[in-house]
């Protein structure tokens, strides 16, 4: 007897719940967009500035560190603890960059810290500095990248399926990306290049489940042509039939994402978190959002055609 999470033959009328799904998704999207207006926590990739990852070999108070660095007049300073508890690691971000090549921000900070905390009491593990010009450029390119990916996918699906499917899939992707970005923002995660990488991966990956469902709808539209007339019902059957693989494929990917989240280290953690949220939201949207949107687009265009004729 094989192990089965979902009993074969079960048909759940997912599309009957579409109003709840719209309400739920709509709320999440509105919350996300509101959170964007309350301010994005832009990483230095996009905002410009210098970020130093400093590790002390003894206990250092964050207030002491802040005072020392604020006295250097390097613009806005933000300091946060980084890594495990008691690691004495800090992420220090300042507004200034060292474009002049003469004396880098890390040298200035390093000298001040040596004076205050003693020589060899700390190590600068990583320094990243991005000029404001490059920051603006990367911001533009990041948005472009996501748009291009969506357009590419829209075209591919339109070629392989009907156009209404492409609309449903891409809107569902926009839904996934917006909510993932919103949740990351509400969790005060930084928005940086790696976030864009995660969002693009979600764009690519969360579509897999949607395509499995669409594929089955396409197949059932042919197979059940005589028995079931209602597109919504065909969708219900198709989603139910593919439900176990939708859940299982996401589950295996979630397993490795959780491994990354827990074990991958501080640098990769935010990336893994974005993937985690994105995969969960993406799985939900391939079941509850994508198909209803196809149906809505389908009936909308049908109505318009009728109107056009009369």
């Amino acid at each position: 007897m094989p192990l089965e999470f979902i009993k074969p033959g079960t048909i759940i009328r997912f599309l009957n719940y579409r109003r709840f799904a719209y309400l739920f998704s709509g709320t999440l999207i509105v919350i996300s967009i509101i959170s964007f207006f309350f301010g994005l926590n832009l990483g230095i990739d996009f905002a410009g500035g210098t970020e130093l990852h400093i590790k002390f070999n003894r206990n250092v108070k964050i207030s002491e560190l802040r005072k020392t660095i604020e006295s250097l007049h390097l613009g806005d300073v933000s300091i946060q603890r980084f890594g495990e508890m008691g690691a004495n690691s800090f992420l220090v971000r300042v507004e200034k960059t060292s474009s002049s090549l003469k004396k880098g921000v890390s040298n200035i900070v390093s000298e001040a810290l040596e004076k205050k905390f003693g020589k060899n009491s700390f190590k600068i593990l990583r320094e990243e500095s991005i000029g404001p010009k490059v920051g603006a450029e990367l911001r533009r390119k990041g948005i472009e990248a996501i748009l291009f990916a969506l357009i590419g996918i829209l075209i591919y699906i339109a070629l392989r399926f009907e156009f209404s499917f492409a609309v449903g899939a891409v809107l569902a992707l926009v839904h996934d990306v917006t909510i993932t970005a919103g949740m990351m923002n509400i969790l005060h995660r930084e928005f940086n290049l790696t976030t864009i990488a995660a969002l693009l991966t979600i764009v690519g990956y969360s579509l897999n489940d949607t395509i499995v469902v669409f594929d089955r709808i396409r197949e059932n539209m042919r197979k059940l042509k005589d028995k079931v007339k209602d597109l919504a019902e065909i969708m219900n059957i198709s989603i139910s039939e593919t439900l176990s693989r939708t859940v299982l494929t996401s589950l295996t990917t979630l397993l490795v994402v959780i491994a990354l989240l827990v074990l991958g280290g501080d640098i990769i953690r935010d990336f893994a978190l974005a993937l985690f949220i994105g995969i969960v939201i993406g799985t939900y949207s391939s079941i509850f959002v994508a198909s209803p949107l196809v149906l809505a687009w389908d009936s909308y265009t049908r109505k318009r055609k009728k109107k056009g004729r009369s």
Binding site: P2, G104, R126, T194, T201, G204, D215, T242, G264
Partner: protein, 550 residues
């Protein structure tokens, strides 16, 4: 789509042998006979894993155009000594002469290849605004970037960094990667020095008449930035010192305390000799003070000129100026033939070494600016690798166990395909000498999760077909052929996203796009073809298969 298991196994065996040959050099040393006979390229580790520095520099190529404008206008000076120039925004130059010289200027302007865009008469002065042709501006800018690239490459080569990468990026940018560098700031100093070496005469006559220190103090009071900006300082001093002169600081270091003092000197603006004529520069030691100096050697033209200059100005002071700082200003005692000179300036050994390198490698045609920089310490990189491997192993085990429990024998077949997929991914990374970054490792981990997706789709389909009453043989046939299209569609879209990411991303993020794309492609082979061949093989071995473990 039928597959013959035996043919498939032979293909698989060949691919595996090739893969092991490709992977081996990355994980252990290869014997001597291997080299030359078999590929020995390794998977590169990105800077984020290996430690090092990444820089994106912008060549301020406008400055090179401005220098050309200035030089050309200055050539008119020997005919029209009253001529004055001023660089205007938008790569233009204003040339002013007394009204009486208007016709002469107009006649001569085309001789120095300047294009007139505007003229005006103001306060008894005729001013002409000139520029260069668009084509020439483009050429000069391009040359400036190419030369900077060459110069920076020379400097880094002489500095001694293992496997540096210096590449042009777009129109006016240069990306520099220095893996494993110990002292990033020193490298930045070296790269960033314009290294314009000039020999200029000290205007001692006027220095006696004018209180330079007082003027400089006043100017700095007016604008504190002038302290470190010689161009600004001289703008503020305009009119107070002779037109042909400029003020630069001499840097003096106290031998005992190391304390640096800066003394303003009045110099003739026009250099008598420049760094272009230096053929060699070496660090030497002054045994008296036990400190280094830089010995330079001129080209033969330079040697002649140097002999002529030193002969002409005996008794005067000759300032040795590097990037607008005077390093020393010795009195010329006699004519110096032979084309050798020394630059002393109380250097440290590192400073002297740097100076010798930049003089040998040549000057930058235009200043460069840092747009982007990151440095990663090697310990952080090692930590990242360790954690990445850990996450890969644990993620892998979770997936493998899950598949075996949920799908039985078929799950184990999928697990086998998963391991093959990892091997193939590493082999392709090695074959292309791709760079593995931290996000790249994340890409590998993610691929583990995604690779079994294809098998889940196939196995679920086979289960469905079995439930519909098909025999195992028919169910496998139907399952694979139906699922392949779905898998293809799903993976193509992920590939689209990965390719966009590769186009857009930089450094580490690019590494993620690379491993993800490779993983998608290799997983399609292992999850579809390899698992099918094994399934068929098992079916063949059994006399009358009524059930399969799936």
């Amino acid at each position: 789509m039928k597959v013959n298991p035996r043919v498939q196994f032979i293909i698989l065996a060949i691919l595996l042998i090739i893969s092991f040959i490709l992977i081996l050099p990355s994980f252990s040393g290869v014997p001597e006979w291997w080299k030359g006979l078999l590929p020995d390229q390794k998977i590169n580790l990105g800077l984020d894993l290996k430690g090092g520095m990444y820089l994106v520099l912008e060549v301020e190529s406008d400055k090179a155009v401005e220098t050309t404008l200035e030089n050309r206008a200055q050539r008119l000076k020997k005919d029209i000594p009253e001529l004055q120039t001023k660089i205007l925004p938008g790569l233009k130059i204003a040339i002013s002469v007394p009204l009486s010289k208007e016709d002469e200027l107009k006649a001569k302007i085309s001789d120095v290849r300047l294009k007139v865009v505007d003229t005006k008469i103001e306060n008894d002065k005729f001013t002409l605004i000139a520029t260069l042709t668009q084509r020439e501006i483009r050429e000069i800018k391009n040359m400036a970037v190419e030369q900077s690239l060459e110069t920076i490459r020379n400097r880094i080569d002489q500095f001694g960094v293992a496997e540096p990468s210096i590449q042009r990026q777009g129109e006016d940018r240069i990306a520099v990667q220095l893996p494993g560098i110990k002292n990033p700031q020193q490298a930045i100093d070296l790269i960033g020095k314009t290294a314009r070496l000039e020999f200029k005469l000290v205007d001692d006559e006027n220095m006696k008449k004018i209180n330079i220190q007082k003027l400089v103090d006043e100017a700095i009071k007016e604008n504190p930035k002038a302290k470190d900006d010689p161009v600004l300082l001289n703008r503020l001093l305009k009119g107070k010192i002779p037109d042909d002169d400029e003020v630069l600081f001499e840097r003096r270091v106290d031998r005992e305390t190391g304390y640096v003092t800066r003394i303003p000197l009045l110099l003739k603006k026009t250099p008598l000799l420049t760094g272009d004529m230096v053929s060699d520069a070496r660090v030497r030691e002054n045994y008296q003070f036990n400190e280094p100096y830089v010995a330079i050697e001129f080209t033969s033209d330079g040697a002649d000129l140097f002999a002529q200059i030193t002969g002409e100005y005996v008794g005067k002071r000759l300032a040795i100026v590097l990037d607008n700082t005077v390093y020393s200003a010795p009195v010329i005692r006699e004519r110096i033939p032979g084309g050798r000179a020394q630059i002393t300036g109380n250097f440290t050994w590192d400073e002297a070494r740097e100076l010798a390198i930049v003089l040998r490698a040549g000057a930058l045609p235009a200043p460069v600016k840092i747009l982007q920089k990151w440095t990663v310490g090697p310990s952080l990189g090692e930590d990242s690798i360790r954690r990445g491997i850990m996450a890969t192993i644990v993620g892998g085990i979770l997936v493998v166990v899950f598949m075996a429990i949920y799908y039985g024998v078929s799950g184990i077949i999928a697990d086998f395909a998963l391991i093959l997929n990892l091997i193939f991914m590493l082999a392709i990374l090695a074959a292309f000498q791709a760079t593995l970054t931290l996000p790249g490792i994340a890409g590998i981990v993610l691929t583990i999760g995604m690779a079994v997706d294809a098998n889940i789709i196939i196995f679920e389909r086979i289960r469905e077909e079995l439930r519909a009453g098909k025999t195992p043989r028919a169910a496998i046939d139907a399952g694979y052929s139906r699922a392949v299209i779905t898998i293809l569609d799903a993976n193509v879209t992920t590939l689209i996203a990965a390719i966009v990411l590769f186009q857009f991303g930089s450094g580490p993020v690019k590494g993620f796009a690379v491993t993800l794309s490779i993983g998608i492609i290799t997983s399609m082979y292992t999850a579809i073809f390899v698992t099918r061949a094994i399934q068929e093989f098992i079916l063949e071995k059994r006399a009358s298969p009524q059930t399969i473990s799936i």
